[in-house]
Symmetry: D2
Subunit: 372 residues, 4 copies
């Protein structure tokens, strides 16, 4: 693991997720840029091999006969490309947190490294791991919604309503509102990319043009904390994306609605075990995880019976397990299994970066239409 | 009543609403342009004085000592201005269905007539009549949400998913998709104006510019059946408005969310007795009609105890009662009471027309920013 | 109208309900036992013929050529039997609030009067008037749930959590907690009878035996404010009934769940336009009033399109309209129409009285099994 | 681990739960009574030390210097007491699935063994591990609800609606409906004990007497599949418990409502990150896990930020982690930490057994009052 030392948020999530299904052991880490913290964090986590830099770690692990097979990169955005490229070049598989990188240049360098390397690259757009999201995707693919017309997606939070990045005690807020560490997108990079990715994952559609109106409502904030985006998809569907970190009363409100000429569906992340499906002209169906109407795609990433809620960590773990299956197949020279192919990779990462770039450019040009 | 003959929808709603509180008797009507139907409808409704034209009705009623005090206009949009002007000129108060008219020219003529007339003019943007909407408005006004940043409003239906206007049996769909009768806006005129009005009513904010992307997803449909609109309010707040009539699984999904720097609120028309309010940094409160946290403004338009759902007709009736109180005060030479002042009037109607016009123009210009 | 003077609650509800569909004019009333109040109330309501006693009113109205056709009795329970019998004997149809009477003796006298009279008797167990309750009943009757096994019903409020009957300002609480005016049942008579009636209306089942545990949690309260009841239905189904007026956070929580060997349904009064139906082994369906899966029985008592909430007054009005149709048919010598037959009558009233009696007796005998 | 071989359900849950926080390694197991299956299961799970009997395992592990510190017992009920006693006698800590045992005799033998042993005993009434359940308990303890009056608890499923135990392919249904393996309680033992435990955990109240009406609705089923229970608590509170496995449309519907003279709360297992709290006379609060109003007790068993749903496995893992902390403290000779003390133990298990016994006895005596 690179990053995820004391005080981090997403590193801990990756550790939980990797542990859940028993496919991973965490044996080595460069958990912090600070040597002391790196050491202390490794000890606290019982990690035997503690490094002080990812370059060193990549080299040393590649050289060991029992070196790591895969690395998780859970640093702030501006420290994604460096370690990812280093490990890929060392032949070590990479599981990287989103968004792909802080800048498009870094993203392109990383993309090139992925192409050059035999190692695999996975990107944790974790919301795609929820069973009912898998079923939603399958429903669309099956034609149950008919020809798609509308994709409405939103991701709404409230934790940046106040200028907490200046309170002195909120590391998460600090780097996520800092262009040097986050890149050009604030909310649009942090959560907008998740929403965008989810909409594409379920709908199977690609955005042709978008028009974005970005705001930093908190005075002095350098990055957007709210984004309103109009979407035009290839093939004629339209959509809206709203992401916000300044909407009081919202914790992690990711919600997707997709409508076609034969039906519609609704899924909300805070109630993840349920999927609402309406065949046009019939009663709405409440489809539940492992319930009577759950599909094989949902079942394949479920662990326990219906009515026993699976949550965020389970969905996240589904990506880790998909990656593990992919790595095993790769090692065995076998084709990628379905669960590995469903894990977002470099293309999804590039799409996210182009989305952020297009939003920022569009907003600068007064919400002009821009192709991502 | 003008319009509202057999087969009509909104005429019946107006009759229910006017009857509920006992302030109105329906004694005269020009219920249909067809003489036979006008007569038959009047008989079916026990209306004594049946007219075959609104001009005739306005004249005759104005001349009678027991002539009507007020008239309800419940015709398709293109027959709003004519009768409204005729009755206003006859000194008879007008309660008119929304949107104001089919065209901006008609709207301006009507506005002039309102200015000239001593009679009152009310417009039934009925969703403003819900008790919890009144409380939402009051919460914003009180400063409980702080300075407003975001207004997200949507009005989503599915009844035009198929080309039902060509099925031969759906009068409502026929005129609502016909530019000659509806005006330039389809969904945007029919329901978008409601959403726009509600957002303004609660937030107290005026839109400075908007950018709209309108679609007619059903082939051959002459008016939009879906609209995606970005909003920029005076003072810096931003918003999104989505209205659709082609989103399967949605019946009458009008929903408003308003966020400021101190709190947020959510209200949904299909669950109208509840208002969700979050003071930033505290638990969300569920405020119910006539519940422990209901306010005076909500109480003033409630009829029965909390937990006994009041619905659409009750909300609609609140406008009728507000209008009745206004008419009584007017007759007595007294100032307009609060409940009358809260009923939308000609200004709200003009704002709605400018909204439709701006949306259509913006969409024609590829979602350019337009001032409504 | 008998009762319903100033300060009353249910009288106003009856007036709204009678007015909504235009079948009734309120022209005469004995609104209060106090002559002054009776007069003042009548004036405030624009009621021309104000009486000071119901006996006088029954006689006088029966004697007039334009006398009332029907009377609404909206007094406290101990003043149901007297006026009901008087009007029935005068040949005037009676619409009476629930529960039937305060005592079983009164109930039997009233039952005898109904049998003797040619006039009709209706009892406003109003929750049976909700469209989705009608559809629930129809679903059970159709066999969609299979053989019934379980009936779970509850009616939960919180307005008597404190001893508000001793606050000096709460007329409703005063008489409803007073055995002399309410009868032997407190919560069990006031709301338990509604729950019991609703369960029977939808399930079509009759209770064979019940075991009840009644409590007055507020010190010094003379009647129960909470009741826990086990139900055994004829044919083997079982059930539970819970009613409470001391459960903070509950306003008017009437909820019914019915399960058979082929399916289950759930309906809740505070969300009345929705009915949840699960065919065993399939996804749960959300059936909405006038939605795609609404039935003819629900449609027959609906006024406006799906998604436009109808509420408590509309459901209540459905009984008034059913009674009006019944009265018209009766006058014309025609058979009772379906909508009139669905209005609860004297049998439902007697069943409610036996239920209250059985609960009180069972509770006195330490929750022994008692046949109602 | 004892039990939990191929085809088992709860064994897998224990494995997930033990793995999540990294406190356990699964190194030895007697996974099945069948030697072949025990071996195959151990191999599939990468468990090094596979035993064919729990007696052997207890002996061997106790003898090894690197023997297990704790064992999870995840067998059907009739194989709880045997292994639990064997491991306790070998000085190995026991984490045992619920209910405690199949018979009261076994339970008493186990209780004696717990008293004799220095090893610790934990019982996985896992629903007590949910963060919002911890906060609910804390709210009651703090007096925020005042003096408790009502405890309403239900646990409703539908998976035994049909006689699936005779279908030949449902191991879970087979043993859970078999008195020889389950004990005297069917639904009441399997899920009723959970509901009973949860009610006691949150309310802090002990049941004085209960009256139960048990049914086996499916013909030929030897154990109850539905139970209706009246509860009388020490101190005067009353309650109802309903558990069912034959209610179509219910997956795992455990729901608890507690009401006192100052407030009420509601929690439902299928929406576990939310707790509804109403201070009497105020608006209902929606308290969310790690949200603005979350308490220290909830926070202590939370892993990730609010809005990121934690589910069943996380709640279950909280007991495993509590047990691990308890074992560590025990080894260090330190007092039990709070999180360990909150894990149900032998007393909770005995209470559950007495509850099942009392329900069965009461039901046999026609729902007579019985002290558990």
């Amino acid at each position: 693991m690179v990053g995820g030392g004391q005080g981090a948020f997403i590193g801990e999530v990756h550790r939980f997720a990797s542990r859940l299904d028993g496919h991973y052991d965490l044996v080595a880490g460069a958990l912090s840029a600070s040597p002391d913290k790196a050491k202390a964090s490794a000890e606290a986590l019982n990690i035997g091999r503690a490094y002080t830099s990812y370059e060193e770690m990549a080299k040393a692990e590649a050289a060991r006969p029992d070196g790591i097979e895969a690395v998780a990169i859970v640093t702030p955005n501006h420290v994604h490309a460096g370690p990812a490229i280093a490990f890929l070049e060392a032949g070590i598989h990479v599981i990287c947190d989103k968004p792909l990188t802080a800048t498009l240049d870094e993203a392109e360098a990383l993309q090139a490294a992925v192409k050059r390397s035999k190692a695999l690259f996975f990107l944790t757009h974790n919301y795609t791991g929820y069973p009912m999201v898998r079923q939603a995707r399958e429903l669309v693919e099956s034609g149950a919604l008919g020809k798609l017309r509308l994709v409405q997606v939103e991701y709404v939070q409230d934790w940046l309503t106040d200028p907490v990045e200046r309170s002195g005690g909120n590391k998460q807020a600090e780097w996520r509102t800092d262009p040097a560490r986050s890149g050009a997108g604030g909310s649009v990079g942090d959560i907008g990319t998740h929403a965008y990715n989810l909409a594409g994952f379920v709908s199977g559609l690609a955005v042709e043009r978008l028009a974005a109106d970005l705001d930093a409502f908190v005075e002095g904030r350098a990055l957007d904390d709210n984004a309103h985006v109009l979407l035009r998809y290839q093939g004629g569907a339209k959509g809206m994306l709203w992401c916000s970190q300044v909407a009081p009363g919202n914790e992690n409100g990711l919600k997707l609605r997709v409508f076609g000429d034969k039906g519609g569906l609704v899924w909300a992340q805070e109630d993840p075990n349920r999927l609402w499906f309406t065949p046009h002209g019939e009663a709405t169906r409440l489809i539940t995880r492992r319930g009577a109407a759950a599909s094989a795609a949902a079942d394949a990433v479920s662990r326990i019976p219906g009515g026993h809620p699976e949550g965020y960590l389970e969905g996240f773990a589904n990506l880790y397990t998909g990656a593990a299956l992919g790595i095993r197949a790769h090692q065995a020279g076998e084709p990628m299994p379905e669960l590995a192919r469903l894990v977002p990779g470099i293309e999804a990462g590039m799409a996210g970066m182009r989305f952020v770039g297009a939003c920022v450019e569009s907003s600068r040009r007064d919400a002009a239409w821009v192709s991502p």
